[in-house]
Amino acid sequence: MSFYLKGVHVPHLKRTSNLSAVKMTAPKYVSIPTSMHIGAPATPIVKVGDNVKVGTLIAEQNGYISSPVYSSISGTVTDISDMLLSNGKTAPIIKIESDGEMSIDESVSVPVVNNKEDVIEALKKSGIVGLGGAGFPTYVKFATDKPINELIINGAECEPYITSDTVTMVDRIDDIVYAIDILVKYIGIEKVIFAIEKNKPNAINTVKKALGGRKNIEIKVLPTLYPQGAEKVIIYHTTKKVVKIGELPIDVGCVVSNSSTIAEIGKYLKTGMPLIERCVTVDGNIVKDPKNVIAPIGTPLEEVFEFCGGFTDEPKKVLYGGPMMGIAVPYLTVPVLKNTNAVLAFSRNEAKVPKATACIKCNACANACPFGINPIVAAKALKTEDLAGLEKSGIELCMSCGCCSFACPAKRPIVQNNKIAKETLLKLRAKEAKA
């Protein structure tokens, strides 16, 4: 079966794509949540008053799908309390006040890897999670008994504004190559596909120069179409394999990992420094000096913005991530997370939500959906809680990529409606299974 996966042409706005990442000055304090990944929150192992250093373990992994958390600065733990996080969960957040030293913990040492188990163990300890957005613990993807036919390195970065993956590919290609070598050698990966969207010539050139001509490595330049970087989309466009609903990429022999994640793996294997900082694109129409910043995890966003010259106007909407899938945050004091690839700030005019008008049944939403979902059918079925209709609409596949809402001429909140429809579908199905 062959498909033509649709999408939308979003504005690129990648103004920072040629700006190498700048390391920001150490923040006065960091607030590090114990839940920056998919899965159970990590368990805090420090107490208020403890002294920590850069790379000190402050919360340990809790269960299989979880990830440890390390301190990103040196200083004193001043508070540990539950807080509501942007993902809707409540989890402990550890506040550390800086001593300004940035001294490194003695436990940080280069991991010794001689086989697959060593690599998995190292990835587990590194605290690395998917840096592209979802934050799935990276070690879990590789800790599989199933054969990995393709490791797809996702450098699509299809969201507007964001360039943190692009500059990471350019600045840290050595780390990426190092990681690929070790992963291929020990994990048993048949083929590596490095996929980059066409609008990133500097990243494409860097990767081609470093990896071009190598056996079992394919460098694939993808057309610029949002959501090219979505997992199922990039798998289809690089391998023609279809990941069905309920399946994981590994079920079709694929592992997809963000290019920045791969760079972080390389860095950990080289130095033993766990994931404590990351590249963040700082942009938006009111940021004075847009930049790519290497920020310690837990840095309050206001300090990140201040490092970029502050605002030219009052911020009315601040996002974690890009404008298509990013999450609007309530305060400027929220921290940089492991999966924060960008922070964007917008003025009132840009933040305003247009008024939704009547649906004209133009089907722009359905025609934009990469998976062929028909939101109009879903909305109709949702109104009457019609399980068969919801199933038929395909709403279960919805990944909230936002193409439908973007394309809608009536400016209707389709993604929101889809989320409700999807949840209703699962609820109705569970009810039916019980009956």
Partner: protein, 310 residues
């Protein structure tokens, strides 16, 4: 940097520049060539008829919303499109009061009481045209170009039936009897190309419908190319296929659905033209296909990517 209150809307935080009003504006622009052609062919009274229709449509919607206490929706320009389309479907010599009643019928009866834009079951302009054809007799049909003599008081379809076909060039340029906007094939094609280029519509419906009519006319007319072309360029086929059958609300969304819909409309047009009592069948054909549209739509949904096996 005090934390001020910020917007917490759901993603996506950017929207395309296309709005309902911009789509309706595109449709209006695409109908301008036909409007201008109508004014040249049938005289400036055409413009007055079109203006009456637009004004009556917008006023009807405005007053309806006022009475039922709904938010004003005339800003989306859909009433302008309905009025303009209906005006172009009327004869230049129609009494103004009839044009106004037809417009009010299209907006209030066909659109607003079903819930307004997007909720109507059938196309307002085409339903109003059929309504006027029945209510006011032949008045909605008879018209003749100012430059042509009285022979043309019959429309070309009636003439074809009487073996007095206008030349193909006249048919293409619109020098023939008919409604204001339906006669000039050239102007309608220009409008259609504009709409396709602006991605307001796709080619599927107009091309399929026109081709279907052509092919069946060709077969029925003993494989006469000239006759088939005459049939195709006569009556309201082009305005219907390009501007009325493509109405979003009342036509299918997938390419396959569109082709089935347009084939059906073309086929019914031919049946009515050759074997029915009315000389023209485009309006009825589209109206009938509007009614079966929900079924076509259900049967031709896009294939899901990675959906559950049924």
């Amino acid at each position: 940097m005090a934390a001020s209150r910020m917007y917490l809307s759901i993603s996506p935080h950017i929207k395309s520049k296309i709005t309902t009003a911009s789509i309706m504006l595109d449709v209006t622009i695409s109908l301008l060539p036909a409007t201008i052609a109508g004014c040249i062919i049938f005289g400036m009274r055409s413009l007055a008829v079109v203006a009456v229709c637009i004004l009556a449509s917008v006023a009807s919607e405005y007053i309806f919303n006022l009475i039922v206490k709904k938010d004003q929706t005339i800003g989306d320009l859909s009433a302008v499109v309905t009025g303009l389309l209906l005006g172009l479907n009327l004869a230049a010599n129609i009494p103004f009061w009839q044009a106004a009643i037809g417009s009010a019928f299209a907006i209030i009866i066909v659109k607003c009481i079903f819930g307004g834009l997007g909720c109507n079951v059938v196309n307002p302009a085409i339903t109003a045209r059929v309504f006027m054809l029945i209510a006011f007799g032949a008045m909605a049909k008879v018209a003749f170009p100012i430059s042509v003599d009285a022979v043309s008081s019959a429309t070309p379809l009636e003439l074809i039936k009487n073996d007095a076909t206008p030349s193909l060039v006249d048919l293409f340029l619109g020098k023939k009897g008919g409604a204001i906007g339906e006669t000039c094939t050239l102007a309608l094609i220009i409008g259609g190309i504009y709409l396709i280029a602006r991605r307001v519509i796709t080619w599927h419906i107009p091309v399929t419908m026109i081709a279907t009519v052509f092919i069946f006319s060709f077969i029925i007319e003993d494989f006469s190319f000239i006759s088939a072309l005459s049939w195709t360029m006569s009556g309201g086929l082009f305005i219907g296929a390009i501007f009325m059958a493509t109405d979003y609300v009342t036509s299918p969304s997938t390419p396959l659905g569109k082709i089935i819909f347009a084939f059906g409309a073309g086929f019914i047009t031919v049946i009515i033209r050759f074997y029915g009592t009315y000389p023209e069948g485009v309006s009825f054909a589209i109206l009938l296909m509007n009614i079966v549209n929900p079924y076509i739509e259900t049967l031709t949904q896009r294939k899901l990517f990675g959906g559950r096996e049924k």
